[in-house]
């Protein structure tokens, strides 16, 4: 089956997938509405996400948590079905804790990613929908891990394209922590501005060798109104300019 991602993609891709594989008809086409992002820089790993849980057009929860801490040095960004993500995050946390107790050291981020991937493998081809990005700091080095999931091309449509272009523009290794924070925030804000399925607030986590720190959840509504004021001001400027030609 040939997948071409259109700009109004999410439901349609899931539907085509479903036609091939589903046994139980879904009550509604599941839409994967979210914006999550993470990047590495010299000061550690920065992870940010919006907080809107959508359910085919309805905002099911405006204050959900998409960045779930797994242990002191590892957080997981989740997108896909919130229920599946919450479950698998708990399962992963349990497995990692057991590993730590048995072996006396924490599992590395890439190890955790491999573990999650293998745990999800039996569900490949089912309607399970989990796309997780693990961001962590192991030992002396950062290691954001990416797990592969039941749904083949998940990585592409979960990560918001609106955020990608801003990250591409601004992210480089040498960012300071404040610059990184502001880029992450801007990227999530721009995605929520254009994407109907992302919105409400932005969560930010910063992972360093000392563990993760969480920034206060910020409501993007304020930012939106600030920008609207600015544009309104511009519009009045614009009306003053005479089109004399």
């Amino acid at each position: 089956m040939y997948f071409i991602f259109e700009e109004n993609g999410p439901e349609s891709t899931f539907e085509t997938y479903n036609i091939k594989h589903s046994s139980v008809p879904l009550p509604f086409p599941m839409a994967h509405g979210t914006t999550t992002l993470a990047f590495m820089f010299q000061g550690g790993v920065m992870a940010a996400a919006d907080t809107r849980s959508s359910c085919s057009g309805l905002v099911a929860c405006p204050a959900s948590q998409k960045i779930l801490p797994i242990h002191s040095h590892l957080v997981g960004l989740t997108s896909g079905t919130s229920a599946d993500c919450a479950l698998w995050k708990r399962i992963l946390a349990r497995e990692l804790r057991l590993y730590q107790l048995r072996h006396g050291r924490r599992l590395s981020t890439s190890g955790a990613a491999k573990l999650l991937s293998h745990m999800l493998h039996p569900f490949k081809g089912t309607e399970l929908c989990v796309a997780a990005t693990l961001c962590g700091w192991d030992g002396g080095e950062t290691g954001p891990g990416n797990s592969t999931n039941a749904k083949v091309s998940l990585a592409k449509d979960e990560r918001s394209p609106y955020a990608y272009s801003i990250l591409d523009q601004g992210v480089h290794w040498g960012l300071t922590v404040d610059e990184a924070k502001s880029i992450a925030r801007e990227a999530v804000y721009r995605a929520t501005y254009r994407d109907a399925y992302s919105g409400n607030c932005v969560d930010m986590y910063h992972i360093t060798s000392k563990g993760w720190t969480r920034r206060n959840r910020e409501d993007l509504k304020e930012e939106y109104y600030r920008e609207k004021e600015r544009r309104k001001h511009e519009k009045t400027e614009r009306r003053d300019v005479a089109f004399s030609d």
């Binding site: 394209p161 955020a163 272009s165 801007e186 254009r194």
Partner: protein, 306 residues
């Protein structure tokens, strides 16, 4: 126009009915053109050349219906429930085009990749076409359909100008285009055009698509790469940009989109429209920009590590 010869205009008798949207379900729907001569029967008998004749389209015979020649000539509106030829791949607007208005006029930018499924059919396509000296149109959707409709639009605008002595406004052009596309709504025709121009009322940017949408705005980006372009544009677009800043913003937006979107790429075309007309910037290969960007990031990494 060569198109008319291909469509064998002169061989067919002409039929007309008053065009009204309410009668769209009926058989005969002549093409509305800017040509008001069409609407009067008396004129038609005397017209020798094609100047009085509305555009007819050759619609290839459909598998289940009788041959085209036997079909009543007035019903050239493609029947909506007919079986059509299997598409080789799903049409997605695999492109990045954008346009925005700022204090110095209108900027229109687009990539140059034409894709067919997963193949790059042509790496050097013109997605921005000038219609007249103060109007360009960026196209996305099916390449063939867009090329055809651009030519038709050029023809109609030119005819209007010759008959009435003044250029049609951009809003009227958009309306004309939209009503010409309307009979094909629901068929597989896939055309999404952004008219970028300057007329008596200043700079204008109007998006017209074959689904029937006709939207005027300050910034539009169309195609599979549009979300990527929107991110960059939303961030930095201001009314008060200088010309150089606007050009580099448009270029950056297309570059970021081509970087992430598989169906956009190769070069970037840029047009700047002012009250004096349009001017085209030299086509630029984004490969160079990619390497420059990579080097810049690598340099920053080295600087910080020192």
């Amino acid at each position: 126009m060569a198109l008319e010869d291909v469509c064998s205009f002169k061989e067919r008798p002409v039929q007309h009915k008053w065009f009204s949207f309410s009668s769209l379900g009926d058989a005969a729907i002549p093409f509305p053109t800017s040509d008001c001569y069409n609407l009067r029967y008396s004129r038609l008998e005397t017209s020798e050349n094609n100047c009085g004749v509305p555009l007819h389209f050759f619609i290839p015979p459909l598998p289940h219906s009788s041959s085209f020649i036997n079909r009543p000539l007035s019903s050239f509106c493609p029947p909506k429930n007919s079986m059509t030829v299997q598409k080789p791949f799903r049409l997605a607007h695999g492109t990045t085009t954008l346009g925005f208005i700022f204090q110095g006029g209108v900027i229109a930018a687009a990539d140059t990749r034409a894709s067919a499924g997963g193949l790059v059919a042509c790496p050097a396509v013109h997605k921005i076409t000038p219609i007249h000296s103060h109007l360009v149109v960026t196209s996305s959707g099916s390449g063939a359909d867009c090329m055809l409709w651009e030519r038709i639009l050029i023809r109609e605008i030119r005819l209007y100008q010759l008959r009435h002595g003044h250029r049609l406004s951009i809003r009227a052009t958009a309306k004309l285009l939209s009503s010409m596309l309307h009979p094909f709504k629901g068929t597989e025709m896939c055309v999404a055009l952004t008219l970028c121009g300057w007329d008596k009322s200043g700079p204008k940017l109007i998006y017209v698509c074959s689904d029937g949408a006709r939207l005027q705005g300050d910034v539009f980006s169309v195609g599979s790469g549009s979300p990527y372009a929107y991110g960059v544009l939303d961030r930095e677009l201001r009314w008060s940009l200088s010309k150089g800043e606007a050009i580099s913003l448009a270029r950056e937006a297309v570059f970021r989109a081509t970087h992430r979107d598989a169906y956009s790429g190769n070069n970037v075309d840029l047009f700047h429209i002012t009250a004096q007309g349009w001017s085209q910037r030299k086509r630029e290969d984004l490969k160079e920009e990619y390497y420059r960007d990579k080097e810049k990031k690598g340099k920053k990494k080295n600087d910080k590590l020192k």
